[in-house]
């Protein structure tokens, strides 16, 4: 007989059957001062993130900065390669590939725009994709809420509110009593 390791508590989940149920529960949990809690719902519930007090993501700002970086990088690259002519430390002459293309000026901003545009889009798009993954801690191969069989219904017809044990206000007995006041269908204990 294998010896069971002592189980560590991940958190407590309250089960709700309706969207108003979880919506108002989320408001109360937020107002009670909990920070580490989450809602598991089978479909997007409008306004739930506001009820939970979830802040706007900073992803747009990161993406904007990445776009600006891409734009500047593209401009520098093109100006450097096309029309640069400087003496580095006054000794080493550095000259770009000064191709004369149908008599256009070497420093022709109109020709630089498409590349600058594409680089802006490329930097922004890659940052958006990978930024989303990183901010959401993805890919994630294991999550404690995936383990309990009852929580599988979060993909079907049940709404769960999970208060995690790492929350500074988490005292097991108090949280359990508090969750009871929200009148859930049931309260489930989640192992880490």
């Amino acid at each position: 007989m294998s010896q069971e390791r002592p189980k560590k508590l991940y958190g407590l989940a309250a089960e709700f059957t309706t969207t108003p149920g979880i919506y108002h529960a989320a408001e109360k949990v937020k107002d009670a001062g909990f920070r580490w809690f989450d809602c598991l719902v089978p479909f997007p519930v409008h306004g739930l993130d506001r009820a939970m007090g979830v802040k706007m993501t900073i992803l747009p700002i990161i993406v904007f900065c990445a776009g600006v970086t891409g734009f500047i990088a593209a401009c520098c690259l093109q100006i450097f390669t096309n029309s640069l002519e400087v003496d580095l430390w006054a000794l080493v002459p550095v000259v770009g590939y000064q191709f004369d293309v149908s008599g256009k000026p070497l420093l022709g901003p109109a020709a630089f725009v498409p590349v600058a545009f594409e680089m802006t889009v490329l930097f922004s798009a890659l940052t958006a994709v990978f930024g989303t993954l990183i901010l959401n801690k993805l890919p994630m191969f294991y999550h404690p809420t995936l383990k309990h069989p009852a929580l599988a219904r979060a993909t079907d017809d049940r709404f769960f509110l999970v208060i995690e044990a790492r929350d500074p206000k988490f005292v097991r007995s108090e949280v359990e009593a508090f969750l009871h006041t929200l009148e859930p269908e049931s309260i489930i204990e989640l192992d880490a």
Partner: protein, 426 residues
């Protein structure tokens, strides 16, 4: 499906907004009369100003028609709250053709050269390229096409207004089906007529010049004009106490996105694409159009468009809060309406005589001729430029408010109204 009850949301125009319609229309007519008085003698200036004003007004109305058709094509739910406003703007097309009659009569009378260089029969006869275009640009064919466009727009715009308001009365879903059924056909008609109207009325001002991107450019310009206008109209109606619940922050946010996407970004994309191809190819027959806009005073107007129509609004509208906050969006929208005026002004006014391009041996020579004033590129402001466009825009606003007097301000019996009232931008 349950239809939301918004009947107590001040759906009927009342108070000052009700009186404003006829007043604005009166002001508009007075300004147009004043323009005719100011313009007599200087008929070339007058006709240019009149065409500019006409393109501004018809551009906004056509943008509204496009929006209405698109919402039905895509079966959109979010836009029900503001669709009636677009329908009312578009319905101006039912009578707007009257304002085109002066231009039509002038061209048919054989005085077209006051406005269009192709109106000069001698020029058309002696220039090979223009001679080849003479059939397309003959006053009769040109006028026949114009009549066709105007009839199509009048019919489509008034039918959609009629069907939509008929649904207010009986709440029958068959109107929705009907509007959706006809939307693709009307959209194709719209695309053809507006494209050719842009070519006929504005591109031929420089008769040898051609750009297949020009109609799209005009379209994206009208998108800026229309979405900015509808934001202002919605704000005006709410300020005067109407439709407080029916139009929400979410609708402003979405209209702001449209303004940002089509009126600012897509506009810049098309403007630059057109510019870059002509710049790269460097063909004399094409570059003349841009040379005109890079010389003399027009250079600063071009830069104003680059910054005022693209860079600054791009940075202002890119964030979420500027589109949602009711203090910022209408201000940006008002600025964009102004920029739409400047844009159309920039399209219509700079014209260089085709003979001057043909005779100049180099760009520098042409530039010198322009800067010394020997060749006119049509730069300079006169009072008529402003009175015409103020008059026409006031008529458009007045007409819109008059159209709204006869109906609910929201398509209150649309089966998807619930969706419009409750949707949220994630």
């Amino acid at each position: 499906m349950k239809v939301a009850d918004i009947n107590n949301d001040h759906l009927r125009l009342s108070g000052i907004a009700k009186k404003a319609g006829p007043a604005l229309a009166g002001v508009g007519a007075a300004f147009l009369g004043l323009s005719a008085a100011l313009g007599s003698g200087e008929w070339t200036t007058f006709w240019k100003s009149y065409l500019f004003a006409w393109m501004v007004a018809v551009g906004i109305a056509l943008g509204a028609m496009f929006f209405v058709l698109l919402q039905h094509m895509t079966r959109s739910g979010w836009s029900i709250s503001v669709r009636r406003l677009a329908e009312a703007i578009a319905k101006n097309l039912k009578w707007m053709w009257v304002l085109f009659l002066p231009i039509l009569i002038m061209v048919l009378k054989g005085e077209g050269d006051l406005l269009y260089q192709w109106g000069n029969a001698q020029l058309m006869e002696h220039d090979h390229l223009l001679h080849k275009k003479a059939t397309y640009l003959s006053p009769t064919f040109w006028s026949a096409r114009a009549v066709f466009y105007l009839v199509v727009w009048a019919v489509v715009a008034s039918l959609y207004f009629k069907w939509s308001t008929a649904q207010d009365a009986d709440g029958d879903v068959k109107w929705t089906h009907k509007m959706q059924k006809w939307a693709p056909i009307c959209m194709i008609l719209y695309a053809f007529t507006q494209s050719y109207a842009a070519i006929d009325w504005m591109m031929t001002l420089q008769p040898k010049w051609f750009s297949t991107m020009f109609p799209v450019y005009f379209w994206s310009a009208t998108m800026a004009g229309f979405f900015a206008s509808i934001i202002l109209l919605a704000r005006y109606l709410q300020k005067t106490g109407h439709v407080q619940k029916s139009i929400t922050t979410e609708h402003y946010h979405d209209l702001g996105k449209w303004l940002f996407g089509l009126g600012v970004v897509f506009w810049a994309y098309i403007a630059f694409s057109q510019y870059m191809l002509i710049w790269y190819a460097n063909l004399p027959v094409e570059t003349g159009w841009y040379i005109t806009r890079q010389l003399g005073g027009w250079a600063s107007i071009s830069l104003l468009l680059l910054f005022g129509h693209f860079l600054v609004p791009f940075l202002l509208l890119i964030t979420r809060w500027t589109k949602r906050w009711r203090c910022t969006l209408p201000v940006i929208a008002a600025w964009m309406v102004l920029m739409f005026f400047v844009d159309i002004y920039w399209l219509v006014f700079p014209v260089i005589p085709e003979t001057a391009i043909a005779e100049a041996s180099s760009y520098n020579e042409l530039a010198n001729l322009v800067s010394s004033g020997e060749v006119s590129v049509g730069y300079g402001f006169t009072l008529v430029n402003f009175t015409c466009v103020i008059g026409m825009f006031a008529l458009l606003c007045g007409g819109t408010l008059i159209n709204l007097r006869s109906c609910n301000l929201v398509a209150s019996a649309d089966p998807r109204l619930d969706e419009a009232l409750h949707f949220e931008n994630a």
